[in-house]
């Protein structure tokens, strides 16, 4: 299975090396300059660590947080108080507990403690915040920033209050800042490409689809939030040991806007973007700060003292980016995925290369053992008396359904009969007004979709709900990661599933680039990667022509035989239903009209009346 890789080796190498090389170049520029330039570059590197922290959460979750600078502030205060010389403690922070006051840690020690403290703080703060909705998180994190600012500003005896702290040991050197930044970039990349990172990216691409694959949105966001808080804490700790002074305003509005601008300008989804964006925005910012102080523009003329010019510049960069380059300088790609870097290296675009075909047989059940024979499983998916009403409209009025492992059950009925609503109930996306759902003898009514997916019940959607920015291989691998597979195993599994569904030629293409019908097939592949015992397919053949529909039937038959999972198939293409399902349930107006074999269904006058229509029979008779 080593043949299946998420990205080619050259692409991987370029993606990892590019940010490190940029950081090394930045350090080199600093070393060759004046002491004042050294200081500036060191500060920029500290900022870069904070920006990388922002990228870890915002870039991978797609959810904006305005509170991360609160963690930088906390990290800075923690590091400062742990290193403040005893003489200055008595003067500035008389209320500081002795344990901290006497710690007198070194540069690395204080940074490490600050990092851990901020990670824990972020986890605690994130616990309630990450439970709020995607739209509420930006607001609630902003509230955290305001609270953090006011606590620090008013806790005079411990933090020195609004006056801030001075005489903090200046231990952060240019090279050490560079090393920390390189480490932070490596951590951000490792996270992005880890199992957790992919799961979070899936929630960014499509929250509903991610949940259907067993991914718990709150939990994944919390992990990234804590890691982000840790990195921000490191950045803050190093920064304060560079400047030697600290105030509550150091990491507040201005710093928040500046670091967010850096991340957005580079491209939020990209770690390379965070590094590049920091350097680009900081350079412009420094230039403007010089001009604002009366320096000559490009050595030609001076426009005199113009306070606020740098801040206006940062605001304009943010505006311009949003208008002209919403995905930033890197378009959200890592360096190895950038076409122009590929050309620079004289290579074909790495992303265009198709993965080598995988011919290994399909792996089997949850234990990963190859399953040649259908898995014999007891139990079933059972629904009893499901009723759903939207306002006054009764969509389902007491529907029963039983699906056994290894069985294909067709669910048909006219548009609006309640088929999709029933699948929404079975998969946990909708809580019914009445009725219960039982999975292998356990009552699972009211369980969330991602828990059901982990218990072996996975669904697809009418719309394909692709993960547009992820490649096909990544999209399917995320399915396996959702139920807890490690990365290597998930990727191998994804390769097998794509191969089985005839999509292996598409492995490295972004999901968004597929034609609609193949996106739907990709949805099936993604669901299969979760190793479901029960698979609910909502119109998988929609948009396929006859021949393609027949191919899908062959694929699904292979799934039935190879996996032994039960398939519930909602489908209007009767040839697909009839050739795959020995048993068909007809839903009409929220109740079960008939359950029977395809032959019985086709001949049933009530089904013809409600669903098939009389014209359906004519050509068959002709």
């Amino acid at each position: 299975m080593s043949a299946v890789r998420l990205r080619s080796r050259p692409s991987l190498a370029v993606s990892v090396l590019a940010p490190l090389v940029l950081i090394a170049l930045t350090v080199a520029v600093g070393t060759s300059g004046t002491p004042s330039l050294r200081g500036t570059v060191t500060t920029i590197l500290c900022e870069m660590i904070v920006v990388l922290g922002l990228q870890v959460f915002i870039g991978n979750s797609g959810v904006y947080s305005f509170g991360q600078l609160g963690f930088a502030s906390a990290g800075a205060y923690a590091a400062a108080l742990l290193t403040l010389p005893a003489a200055f403690v008595a003067l500035q922070t008389p209320g500081l507990p002795d344990l901290i006051a006497n710690a007198q840690l070194g540069a690395v020690g204080s940074t490490a403690v600050a990092a851990v403290a901020c990670g824990v703080l972020a986890a605690v703060v994130g616990l309630p915040l990450m439970r709020t909705s995607t739209l509420a998180i930006p607001i609630s994190t902003f509230a955290f920033l305001v609270v953090a600012y006011n606590v620090i500003g008013n806790w005079d005896r411990v933090t020195g209050g609004s006056g801030g702290l001075v005489s903090i040991p200046r231990t952060t050197g240019l090279v050490s800042a560079g090393l920390w930044a390189a480490a932070a970039a490596a951590v951000a990349l490792a996270y992005k490409w880890s199992t957790c990172g992919y799961r979070l990216q899936a929630t960014r691409e499509d929250e509903v689809a991610a949940r259907s694959l067993g991914i718990g949105v709150t939990g994944e966001r919390l992990i990234a939030f804590a890691l982000s808080g840790t990195l921000c804490g490191v950045g803050g700790a190093l920064a304060v040991h560079q400047s030697g002074v600290l105030a509550p305003t150091t990491f507040y509005f201005v710093a928040s806007v500046t670091t967010l601008t850096m991340m957005v300008a580079g491209g939020a989804r990209s770690v390379f973007g965070a590094v590049l964006g920091t350097i680009a925005v900081a350079s412009v910012n420094e230039l403007l700060r010089g001009v604002e102080g009366g320096d000559k523009v490009l050595g030609l003329f001076s426009i005199g003292n113009t306070p606020g010019l740098a801040a206006i510049g940062v605001g304009l960069i943010l505006l311009a980016t949003m208008v002209a380059l919403p995905d930033g300088l890197t378009s959200g790609h890592e360096a190895g995925e950038l076409p122009w870097i590929g050309r620079l290296l004289g290579r074909r675009r790495v992303a265009d290369r198709a993965a080598p075909p995988v011919t290994a047989p399909m792996g089997g059940g949850k234990d990963g053992a190859p399953a040649k024979a259908p898995v014999e499983r007891a139990g079933a998916l059972r629904a009893h008396g499901i009723a759903v009403a939207f306002g006054g409209l009764r969509v389902l009025r007491g529907v029963d359904l039983t699906l056994r492992p290894g069985e294909a059950l067709g669910l048909i009925g006219p548009n609006g009969a309640g088929k999709t609503t029933l699948v929404n109930v079975l998969s946990g996306f909708l809580e019914p007004n009445a009725g219960t759902v039982e999975l292998d003898g356990v009552d699972v009514s009211g369980r969330s979709p991602f828990r059901l997916a982990r218990a072996g019940l996975t669904r697809t959607f009418q719309g394909a709900l692709p993960f547009p920015q992820l490649s096909c291989l990544e999209s399917v691998a995320v399915g396996a990661m959702g139920i807890g597979d490690r990365r290597g195993r998930a990727v191998a599994r994804a390769g097998e599933v794509l191969d089985r569904l005839g999509l292996n030629g598409r492995a490295t293409q972004p999901a968004a680039s597929l034609p609609p019908a193949e996106q739907r097939l990709l949805g099936v592949a993604r669901a299969l990667a979760t190793r479901p015992h029960y698979l609910l397919l909502d119109e998988p053949a929609a948009g396929l022509n006859e021949a393609e529909g027949e191919e899908l039937v062959a694929i699904l038959r292979g799934v039935l035989e190879g996996f032994g999972c039960g398939i519930l198939l909602i489908e209007h293409e009767m040839s697909v239903v009839m050739s795959l399902c020995p048993r068909v349930q007809v839903l009409d107006d929220g109740v079960t009209l008939r359950i029977g074999t395809p032959g019985e269904i086709r001949a049933d006058p009530s089904v013809i009346e409600a669903y098939l229509g009389h014209s359906y029979l004519e050509p068959a008779n002709a």
Partner: protein, 244 residues
């Protein structure tokens, strides 16, 4: 009425449609069939201004549509019913329809007339569109497009996700529109039904027009068409022509 001259379409430098030529006369109903990935949707998107052809021209009543904004093309009377039931989900059915009729003088009356054709929509006029089932949304999308009184109605897979009876109803409606003289361009996966319904069909495969003709002519070449449509698989139909 509509003419494509050597239209080529490329995505990020990769050409997917390699020079397509065809004309649609006023009142004509033209079908476009072909396997997935043949470029059908790309051609429709190019006509509606949603993407710009990399080469060639798209003419509507003698005017070039190249580079024209989608909303301006819509105002010329080109209406697209997109694949995938794209309705305004947070608005009610009635509000969706009102938006479709924004440019029509007698909006309310037109909505009333349209609703007569879609009894299920009339029943649920006050419901939010996200409460509609997939098939109902499809009907809403078609109804909304009709309200603009299009001169050219473009339908991208109107039967997608619909039950057999509903499809019959939709085609009955399309038949009525044809009687009224509406010009239509229809993309469908169900080749047999499309060939029977349309005055003329284009078979698109691999980004070029492989065949075109009237139902009688194409029917004779049906095996050939199946070969194009099948793409990878070319098995015989197993359902004995139950669905046509």
């Amino acid at each position: 009425m509509l003419e494509l001259r050597g239209t080529k379409i490329a995505y990020r430098g990769v050409e997917v449609v390699h020079g397509v030529d065809f004309r649609i006369a006023p009142g004509e109903v033209v079908g476009m069939i072909g396997p997935n990935g043949a470029g059908k949707s790309s051609v429709l998107r190019a006509i509606c201004g949603l993407l710009r052809p990399s080469d060639g021209e798209v003419l509507f009543e003698g005017r070039t549509l190249n580079g024209m904004a989608p909303e301006r093309i819509a105002r010329l009377g080109v209406a697209l019913v997109p694949e995938g039931r794209q309705v305004f989900r947070t608005l009610t059915v009635a509000e969706n329809l009102r938006l479709g009729a924004w440019s029509v003088e007698e909006g309310e009356a037109a909505i009333g007339r349209t609703l007569e054709r879609f009894p299920i929509l009339r029943e649920r006029a006050g419901e939010h569109a996200d409460r509609l089932s997939g098939g109902e949304r499809q009907q809403l999308a078609i109804a909304r497009a009709l309200l603009g009184r299009p001169r050219l109605l473009i339908l991208d897979e109107p039967s997608l996700g619909l039950g057999p009876k509903t499809i019959d109803a939709i085609y009955e409606l399309l038949g009525e529109l044809r009687e009224e003289g509406t010009t239509m361009l229809l993309v469908e996966q169900n080749a047999a039904r499309t060939i029977d319904f349309c005055d003329r069909c284009l078979v698109l495969s691999g980004g070029t027009v492989r065949a075109q003709g009237k139902p009688g002519e194409l029917r004779g070449d049906f095996d050939l068409i199946r070969a194009y449509l099948g793409g990878r698989a070319k098995r015989e139909t197993s359902n004995g022509g139950v669905r046509r």
